[in-house]
Amino acid sequence: MLEFFRSSAVRVALAFVFVTTVATTAVFGLVYLQIREANGARNRLILEDEAAKSVNQSIDELRYAFKVRMTHDLRRLDYAALFGADRKILFGNIDVLPAIPLDGKSHYVTASRVPGGDNRLEPAIFVARARPDGTILLLGRSMLESLAFRRIVVSALATGLAPMLLLALAIGAFFARRATQRLTTIHDTIALIMKGDTHLRLPVRPRNDTIDKISRDVNLMLDEIMRLLVQIKGVSDNIAHDLRSPLAVVHAQLERGLESPDDDELRAVARQALTHIDKAMLTISALLRLADVEYGPKSSKFRSIDLSAICTDLFEFYEPLATSKSIHMSLETQSPVQILGDGDLMREAVSNLIGNAIKFTPENGTVSVSVTRENGRPIVRVRDNGIGVEPGERDKIFQRFYRTVSGHRVPGSGLGLSIASAIANLHDFDLRFDDNDPGAVFEMAGRRK
């Protein structure tokens, strides 16, 4: 039950009931006030006007006028009387002068005796006025009708409000219950999915309300997560495979070494084993590096860096290596090309590209590096005329561990381009391959904002 009241749907329903009550009460209240005001004000003006007219009439004329007045007053709502200067009644239907000033203005008296002898008390308006001959004119009107009307309004409110409240509560509870039931279903489904039933999806009805829309979004999100999970599984299979091979070799080598009676043999085998373990560690380090770039928090160290300076630096670093392979290396930079980024990471990405270009270009080839800004986009291109990439392999080279058929014997972790691509991505750059016919062009270009 507590659970029920805690659900937001129920709270909305209760708020709805509250607002409805307040609104209805306000409407009734306004009607009540309007009636009271309209009735009272109109009667007051009439009485004051009559009193003013009657001041100068003779006593006989007054007596006649009163008589007519009372004959017409079937509901006995009118008061009219004339009092002497000694405040004793001369004639009229009310025998006591109420305690009001003799100023010709209307006054509200809450309890006056009803004309006709019975001792009921009613609210009324009175006007009293002194006449030139010293007598006092009193006119009045009972407010009983108006009071009754107001009572009706109040009792209507009282009798109407309770059923309306109940109705609102019932409707609110109905909707709340329905919403709660749907939310409970969703909650239970999510719990099941978290427990491992990853094929389950949230229910979506064709009605397409807000909850359906959110459910649909959550389902799409689940699909995407599942797709990524499958992808990650593929990657970890690759990792396992890439690490198992060198480990299997190491295992075989060490076994052979231990069984050999020759100490030198064991030594030689141990050395080979070390090389393979080094290779495995290189792979692990590269994987950790990749994870750092891909899933680490976006570097807080992003600042203005100059791509030209970075490439010039790397050009000078790699040129002796190129020269040692008789590869001609050239650099083309314009003025500084400033971007917002992490200098260390950018250096690593470009270093991978240049290192690859030299690695996959035979002797007497060329490698050129250029940094430009084209239509406002910063672009780094590393071009070589080496072995290039076969058309069928071009979309695979950025995948983890992918080694091209032709480049398989060149040493490396198979992760260099993945890391470069991840770094480019982190900087809102795209890294793509182009055919240089012969050779390759790797272009790293800032995305159009």
Partner: protein, 232 residues
């Protein structure tokens, strides 16, 4: 100079909760003639305050605690003992954090023992920040003010980067220097390379500084890196 302890040899303090790795490190360093003592982070900090250890090797995370906090506190107290931080956290950001906290060097796991030992030796033999203006090994002399290098009477012209490379060797004579150390210290590249660029740079430097007919001043150390032979 700080006063040596009663034994005369200051130990290397090792703060590492991975038992097997700690053991390997201890065996390897002891094989090289160092005295190694395992310590908890608190013990290490107390020892460092009284100037006991020759250096400290700290794992970044020991029993779930970030040892950089302790290191930072020690540095604030003015403790100057050399510290090598080893860590499974490999990103550049973490490295920068390690150095900022007061680490003198930062090595990410997994590392090769050769690499590790080279780092330890470099820190153990670090010169007490003497403002030398001239570095010399054999008849090779470098003038840091004039920015010139002479081999005997012959002046050797070096490119700026070659000058820095040679300077690093001259500051660490007789020590194994790994490719990664050169990349970090000479080029400020904090990533691993799959090519042998550094070897090419060394070979170019050798061509310039070596005299005909005598063995090279910079020798290759198999599986580890290079060494500027001190007794040339």
């Amino acid at each position: 100079m700080k006063k040596a302890t009663s034994t005369g040899v200051k130990p290397i303090l090792l703060v590492e909760d991975e038992k097997e790795l700690a053991n390997e490190i201890k065996i390897e360093l002891e094989r090289l003639g160092y005295l190694v003592r395992m310590a908890s982070i608190a013990e290490a900090a107390d020892a460092a305050r009284v100037g006991d250890p020759a250096m400290m090797i700290m794992d970044r995370m020991v029993f779930g605690e970030d040892s950089l906090n302790t290191l930072e506190a020690l540095r604030k107290e003015g403790v100057k003992v050399p510290v090598l931080v080893i860590s499974a956290l490999s990103s550049i950001d973490e490295r920068v954090r390690g150095l900022k906290a007061g680490g003198d060097d930062y090595l990410a796991k997994p590392f090769a023992m050769m690499e590790f030992v080279a780092r330890v030796e470099a820190l153990m033999r670090r010169l007490d920040d003497v403002r030398t203006t001239k570095l010399r090994v054999g008849d090779l002399e470098m003038d840091l003010i004039e920015q010139t290098v002479h081999r005997g009477d012959t002046k050797i012209d070096l490119l700026p980067r070659e000058f820095k490379l040679l300077e690093y060797f001259l500051r660490h004579p007789g020590q194994v220097i790994t490719r990664a150390m050169l990349l970090e210290e000479v080029w400020q590249y904090h990533f691993s390379l799959e090519t042998n660029v550094v070897d090419v740079h060394i070979s170019n430097l050798r061509k310039k500084i070596d005299a005909r007919g005598v063995p090279s001043l910079i020798v290759n150390i198999r599986g580890a890196g290079f060494m500027l032979s001190a007794n040339a």
